[in-house]
Subunit: 491 residues, 2 copies
């Protein structure tokens, strides 16, 4: 993997001096074209051996191009708010919007490699993290991001020389830390683990480029040319091909689904409802204040057709929880800043810290429901979403979240009944629009998407609950009961 | 101040049961009207004596209204990223957008009062913090926010009884912490300091409402009614009157200004430029890596007419700084999310953490420049901005920022010359638009706003540097030199 990067590549200073202005002006032009096009975010990952010129290269990129449209992030140890969220959260917060360049220094590769070399992480743990990274990068590329991954290499003797050289000069001594020497002692393991990491994550959609870091001119020119080439190809319309998602299973022959086989007749009397509601809200209150909740969080998703009772059910849930510790997130059309990012970005923003609950009134499942039905997303786009969503929820769970998802199921007849009531009741009129009446006709178009969604995204870590909700009272009690069970069994 | 809240107000349970549904439905209607209008953010501050029912009231507000459009924030001790920024930063991050309700539990009043009662803060320090709060609230109100400040009171004996009562019941014992009892020992000082705080901050635009917290029904109904009344009045178009800003001084009779008296002939030869630039960039690099910079940050502002050389000067600055530690923020039109907030919000977002630099290419001064000239902001709005900006910069400085502001001054003849060069040079054409040619005619309209801005916002903590920039080389060296001096004298 690193062999060709140890043969001592060189570029003459005079040659570099001649080539640099050309490269620089081409890069600046490419950057402006990216900005003008406003379609592609560019992520440059900068990793490799300490002392191999990573910092210098990043500074050069900033000097060559317009630094106003480059965001450079250096990721050190996590801050306290970062530690309370999934590992990838901080990288999501740092994603560049469309048209901009984001340089990630110490990227999502740093920690997996260091944990394996310096700490006790096993090879299979590393493999798992690399698989997650592959998924993450594939998703970014499928969303239109251009990822340029640069690995700066030095041979063992070259690294030692470089660290010594930096340490002895007064001007650069600060750049060599104790950690650098500590890491150097593990050079061989570091290279071995890095090779594995690069092999496992050098994919068609996001390949690694290994650069010999020993010669300033060679390294700089190579890195700049690689970047220029990648951006130029993208601007010409070349896209990395992402493996198409797994096809959907055909619907069953008898057309029986989880929805049309649900028992919609279940109902509660008002007195039973009041009694059970009070009991369950008390239980939920105690559960959310459980000691073990201090390093867990709660992510609750409500989906369902219009008028299924999402809002009123959410109110029964929130009344049981102290207002300081939950946030309800109503999902409407994405804002401008959200549209400049991958579709999951606007949900990552709301990932709760430990001890807190996030309650989603509609959610990321819009991708495989309304966006599929209305064709807002192309078929390959919503088809890959199942896997991406499962991956997202797995990361939430790994970060300590207890996930509970509810589909409030009503029949079409019940929906029409509720629309009519809304239209007649003054304080409910705001809840019904022309669009709702139009959407009503699309009922059949949602049947398969809902069934597909439940089949493909219900899992141990994030199970779907299908709650027949024609009777609101029964539905609310059922939701609270399942929610309490879910939390109890997860603590 | 608290006398009327100790007379033992009560509301019969039966009366409350009768009134509550009416109040609740009126509040829900008012909330929906706010949402539909989408103009006013509502902030509810919840403060007062421990055990006086603050938490219960917040939960009731969430139960009465639609929790999807209420954001409740509980502010505890600061997190590490918060501690590296001005005190008000975290409250800015929590501001509700237009149409939404934000409840702040443990608001900007909590720390000033506790520091005075429990720690060693002096009365004059408290007064200073209260003055800052007054300014902050006046700004929010002037920006269209409705602030409802609720203070929940209990007499000393009532608080003691309440804490005992909560401690003895198994279900509520968790709610009484050691801190509560520790605070209780200081009840008298707490009440005394709170009285001062309320007196100093109960203003026409954001008055305090003191509520007797001893009786659940009375307290809840009073708080709900106050909120309903405040929202209803606002929806009817009633606005709190904010003291008009101080008028601008008349321009001097002889029309001499800092701009037209600058010496635009100063210039450098290329060789002197190269030599001095290299020296100054080295100095700046060392300064940004100075040990003392670890708990300081750098905020650099560039303003100037079109083609004054802001971009190219910024590149000379950034080349001296490690890309990991600066961010250039180009200010363009505000995004949708930014437009839903007070105008300073989009700059608060970018306040750097310690050890980092934020370089603004145009800035909050747009309020008193382009927004004044183009009449995007009304006269009272841009006139109050001088004070608000000074206050903002003072907070930045208190939070550890070194602030340096540059006005790159060119003559009108020089601007036209540069426009023509841009129009002819292929890789500079993107920098010149029809609008630039149009704006050129507005040159005279900017003269007074620039002079006013410099007169009113140049201060010890955030001085303006007027740099005659007809000669780019001289200008860049001058900027770097003044920047280095500024940092050096501030460390």
């Amino acid at each position: 993997m690193f062999e060709s990067a140890e043969v001592g590549h060189k570029l003459k200073k005079t040659e570099f001096a001649k080539q640099e202005p050309v490269l620089r002006s081409a890069l600046l032009d490419a950057q402006h074209a990216l900005l003008a096009e406003n379609k592609t975010p560019v992520i440059i990952l900068v990793n490799g051996v300490d002392g191999a010129g990573k910092g210098e290269t990043v500074n050069l990129f900033n000097a060559w191009m317009d630094p106003r449209y480059i965001h450079t992030f250096a990721f050190g140890p996590s801050t306290d708010v970062e530690r309370q969220r999934p590992e990838m959260w901080r990288f999501w917060q740092a994603l560049p919007p469309k048209g901009r360049i984001g340089i990630m220094f110490g990227s999502w590769y740093t920690d997996p490699i260091l944990q394996r070399v310096m700490e006790s992480e096993t090879e299979s743990e590393l493999e798992k993290r690399l698989a997650r990274i592959r998924d993450h990068e594939r998703m970014l590329v499928a969303e239109g991001t251009l990822i340029v991954k640069l690995w700066f290499h030095l041979s063992k003797s070259a690294q030692q020389m470089r660290l010594k050289e930096l340490s002895t000069k007064a001007k650069t001594a600060w750049r060599v830390t104790k950690d650098d020497w500590r890491h150097f002692k593990h050079y061989d393991e570091f290279v071995q683990v890095s090779q594995l990491a690069l092999r496992e994550t050098s994919t068609g959609e996001a390949p690694w480029h290994v650069i010999d870091g020993s010669n300033h001119a060679y390294r700089s020119f190579t890195a700049g040319s690689l970047l220029l080439d990648a951006i130029t190809r993208r601007l010409k319309g070349e896209r990395h091909v992402v493996t198409p998602p797994e096809p959907l299973p055909q619907p069953s022959l008898d057309h029986r689904t989880v929805l049309n086989t649900a028992d919609y007749r279940r109902a509660l009397t008002h007195s039973t409802y009041e009694r059970r509601l009070a009991k369950l809200q008390g239980d939920l209150n105690l559960l959310t204040r459980h000691k073990k909740m201090r390093d867990r969080s709660l992510v609750i998703v409500f989906e369902g057709m219009d008028a299924a009772g999402k809002g009123s059910t959410i109110r029964r849930v929130t009344r049981a929880i102290d207002a300081r510790y939950y946030r309800v997130i109503p999902i409407a059309a994405p804002t401008e800043e959200e549209r400049a990012q991958p579709y999951l970005w606007r949900f990552w923003r709301h990932v709760p810290t430990h001890g807190h609950s996030a309650i989603f009134d509609r959610s990321w499942y819009g991708r495989v429901l309304v966006e599929r039905v209305e064709k807002f997303a192309s078929e390959p786009d919503w088809m890959r979403a199942y896997h991406e969503i499962n991956e997202f929820e797995e990361q939430l769970a790994d970060g300590g979240a207890i996930i509970s998802k509810f589909w409030l199921a009503i029949t079409q007849a019940e929906q029409i009944k509720r629309f009519k009531v809304r239209a007649k009741t003054p304080y409910k009129q705001f809840k019904i629009t022309e669009e709702d009446w139009r959407n009503r006709k699309k009922w059949p178009a949602y049947e398969r998407p809902v069934a597909d969604m439940i089949d493909r995204t219900s899992s141990d870590i994030a199970p779907w609950n299908i709650v027949a909700s024609n009777d609101k009272l029964w539905s609310r009690v059922e939701v609270l009961e399942r929610l309490c069970e879910r939390i109890e069994s997860s603590l």
